[in-house]
Chain length 556, copies 2
């Protein structure tokens, strides 16, 4: 099999932060046996994807090759790595999904929502246990991150060893889960690493990353000094942080209550799989009202300002019978992800109006990142001494900066973005081709392509409003009655002070009267004419060019 | 006139950053003579105001009292203080507008767009010159900010002196415009200040503010070291920064080119009114191509990622014949305003794809804020020793933190939000009532109320899609032909794999056949029934509940 090659193909996560999906293949060109690493989602926003439920990687390329897929490996249980597994599983030919216990537990829940059996997910123990997947042998190498049991992958192929870091930080005291173990990682690299496919998220952070355990003291002081109820929010999946917060509450004589489904689910998964021990006992929301405020601490979902999460509901007034008031403290033990600022600030101001003191991470004392900063990436490169660094998990600017760091460390590197097939065989990586990629929207219960125009049409209606024009013609193509307009999302009156709908109907009626038999007999011509009049008259009246839908009914 | 009172009423800017509009009144209740300080705008976004052009304060209260308005005073020329003057001038009864020269120059442009004469704006010199406006005497007190000729207002009333700070920082070397002069401000306060109405923007910034002149060195070093073309963006109105950037370019042997209408207009206004002298001579965009890249520096609009500004256009490929390439440098000499992150990051990644090196203000070396930080506010309180501090220009959380700072400094304070009438007469401020306030949208060429439902309808179409249903009935209320559907912004097929439009038309046809004569004769009942079927069938097919518009045509 001299023509066999080792390829890397990111379908999501390389050129963006989110929606991770990486493919490795080995074999003769176009017959490679494939493994998929992570199947994540990214989240929609009003700016570009209003009404969309979730954004998934476009896996059309994989779907067309589903018989070549040996397995799926999930590095950790964050939504941007695991969230699409249920939605895409069938399209990929229902491959076996491998993960460590905590991740597997949550993967089974996701697949269960689609009716798939628990058995499709296989639990794998940490390295040195490995799984054989066609030409690949894959092991889960523990590493610290902001969720339990995050793992890098050791991917052995006939052409050498790849280390796929997954998301990571170098934390020797991560509170929950395995600490960063440079000896373990160094041993894996001892006989050479062909490619280090490496997290790039924090490449612009110049200081070494801080340990999860470094913020416990400040959190404890803050909570000990609080007078009223204390509420803290962080990512539901940051089990270590939840433990730190809950224990600080407990030490301050507070009973802890978890609010928000995602948070309870994470704690349950962590307890069920044994990664979390000694979490303070919790009370139910119904019990909160029976305790003095100074004896309660709520841990709530919604650190990113999500409208339906517990934090937003509390800021709106009441959630599960609990409401906040003057003198309470609300801690954002989290960083606001770019793009979520407005939602978070809205909540902060609502809390301010209630007299609640809001503390966020501006001071840097109540949150640490889960990703490796620049000096940590540096350390990783130097420890693993790979032939090639392949930056992943970053926007283009992160990937680009990461390739430069690799060069400074004497490594080859390649800036591979979504859709680029990289040939890792031989002594230097090369671009072996490009695959059409993009995004798939979960919109209600169906998957639609980002370029299908469906969401574009929604955006246009949001920007321009929508006018429906209805005309009826008889058997002889003569107008029956007058044109009828319905207006959505536009001012009712404009320049002429008459209702816009009256102005339009008058103008359209005149157009119909003037239109020749040829136009009246031709749906396309008539529609064009009616649209043009509608847009022009609306522009004249209110200064906007609306979307227009014309319905021509012909009686026959 | 023993019943006369001195009132303060914010209509915009108190509870938000943007859209500043403050009213002061003196006289018997409901007959107060009024002055208006600032008429600003705030900017729309896709999240809540798609398609809206600008957001203005709701001045209905003022409009109903326009005969009581003595004058409008504009503290400085930022859009959030000046931007609404043209749009609202007529509704306020065309009052005289007072401003200093640079601000007045730009105010005349805004009013000119609505056809108003230059004469409606009166230019006022700096304090000690004053203007009489009914019971008030008003003077413009120079202070440093991030735009030339920013001024506080000294507002003397029969009940005492108010100092309205406007936006400010304490900068003793602001490059362009007047330096912070504590002696001048202290003298104004010497005989007592009843109320200090004070900027709150940076109350959460714990370090003293830095001078505009403190960043020149770093900017000069950065540009001197650049190899390719240099592009820098900042707020167009930050004339001092433009000067610093242009001079750094000039010293590095580069010709400077201004790109973006707003930037050229600001420089022209600054030169015309004498606030800017010695700006390096500039070249036109057409000349850029004739020079080696290393001899060019572009100063461009679009520091906030605005889609139509020069920075976004350059990132998209080409602007006015100029394109960027590998080895060029792009400096964001600016801070990203919360909510604008996505747009800015998009541009950074596009530039990264071109190989352009992007430098932003993460390091704190290439930008300083134009607002007073917490220690500066502290200094202002202590210098002015007001009876009462009234925080303004901030979200609720800023205003609240600012009242606490005032208390620490031994001042009374009152947290006044938009719509709250504060009685400043007597020894302590009190709430004298509430006025309905809100936001007015400039939508195309018309002004609509934020609560009119127009933009809400657009948001609903963006989230849910839109289906139009058309049915025709004859003289006997019998359906003529079959129902017709048009779908916008929804998936074309769903669960049953048949086109959604076919499924709907079939379901609606069955409904029409089943419907009794009573329903068919009643537009409301028929519309309700058709909507319900449409929503239910769409939900079943694609999992979304669309907006539905029904057109019932009856032949008669």
């Amino acid at each position: 099999m001299s023509s066999a090659r080792l390829i890397y193909l990111p379908l999501g996560g390389a050129g963006e932060i989110g929606m991770n999906c990486y493919v490795y293949g080995y074999g003769p060109q176009d017959q490679e046996r494939l493994i998929v690493v992570d199947l994540g989602v990214t989240f929609p926003d009003m700016d570009g994807t209003p009404g969309v439920d979730l954004i998934l990687p476009d896996v059309a390329w994989l779907e067309a090759r589903k018989t070549q897929i040996e397995a799926v490996f999930i590095t950790h249980a964050h939504e941007d790595h695991l969230g699409a597994v249920g939605h895409l599983f069938e399209r990929l030919g229902a491959p076996t999904v491998y993960a460590r216990a905590f991740t597997a537990h949550l993967a089974r829940q996701k697949l269960g929502e689609y009716g798939f059996s628990d058995k499709v997910v296989k639990t794998v123990s940490a390295w040195p246990e490995t799984v054989k997947a066609g030409p690949f042998t894959v092991g889960f190498l523990p590493i610290s991150h902001s969720i339990p049991e995050s793992s890098g992958l050791v991917i052995d192929s006939p052409d050498g060893r790849i280390v796929h870091t997954g998301d990571f930080k170098l934390d020797r005291a991560p509170i929950v889960g395995e600490a960063w173990d440079p000896e373990l990682w160094g041993a894996v690299a001892a006989h050479g690493v062909k490619a280090l496919v490496c997290d790039s998220t924090n490449v612009f952070s110049p200081e070494p990353g801080r340990s999860e355990s470094s913020i416990g003291g400040d959190i404890e002081t803050l909570i000990a000094d609080a007078r009223g109820m204390v509420v803290a929010t962080t990512f539901a999946s940051n089990v270590a942080r939840l433990k730190t917060l809950a224990e600080a509450g407990q030490r301050a004589g507070r009973s802890v209550c978890l609010m928000g489904r995602a948070m309870r689910r994470m704690i349950e998964a962590a307890v069920a799989t044994g990664v979390l021990k000694d979490f303070p006992s919790v009370i139910s929301p119904e019990d909160v009202g029976h305790l003095p405020r100074e004896n309660v601490m709520l841990l709530v979902t919604g650190s990113q300002g999500e409208r339906r999460a517990a934090s937003a509901q509390l800021a709106n007034g009441k959630y599960q019978g609990v409401s906040l008031k003057d003198g309470d403290l609300f801690l954002f033990s989290s960083k606001t992800i770019p793009g979520n600022e407005r939602g978070v600030i809205r909540i902060m101001n609502q809390l301010s109006e209630m007299g609640v003191d809001v503390v966020d991470d501006n001071s840097g004392r109540y949150h640490v990142s889960g990703h490796a900063n620049r000096p940590d990436l540096d350390q990783m490169h130097k420890l693993m001494k790979p032939q090639t660094v392949v930056p992943m998990h970053g926007e283009h600017r992160h990937l680009r900066a990461h390739t430069r760091l690799a060069a400074e460390n004497g490594c080859q590197s390649i800036l591979a973005v979504n859709g680029m097939i990289v040939n890792l065989s031989g002594n230097a990586p090369s671009v072996a081709g490009y695959v059409e990629t993009g995004r798939t929207y979960l919109d209600g219960s169906v998957q639609v392509g980002a370029l299908d125009g469906i969401v574009r049409d929604r955006l246009r209606m949001a920007l321009n409003g929508h006018i429906m024009v209805s005309v009826i013609l008889d058997e002889d193509n003569e107008p029956l009655g007058e044109p009828w307009c319905e207006i959505r999302g536009l001012a009712e009156t404009g320049r002429s002070k008459a209702p816009l709908v009256d102005v339009l109907e008058e103008d359209l009626d005149q157009y119909m009267r003037r239109a020749g038999a040829k136009v009246l007999a031709d749906d396309d011509k008539l529609e064009d004419g009616l649209k043009k009049i509608t847009r022009q008259s609306t522009q004249d009246e209110i200064g906007k060019k609306p979307e227009v839908t014309v319905v021509i009914s012909r009686l026959s």
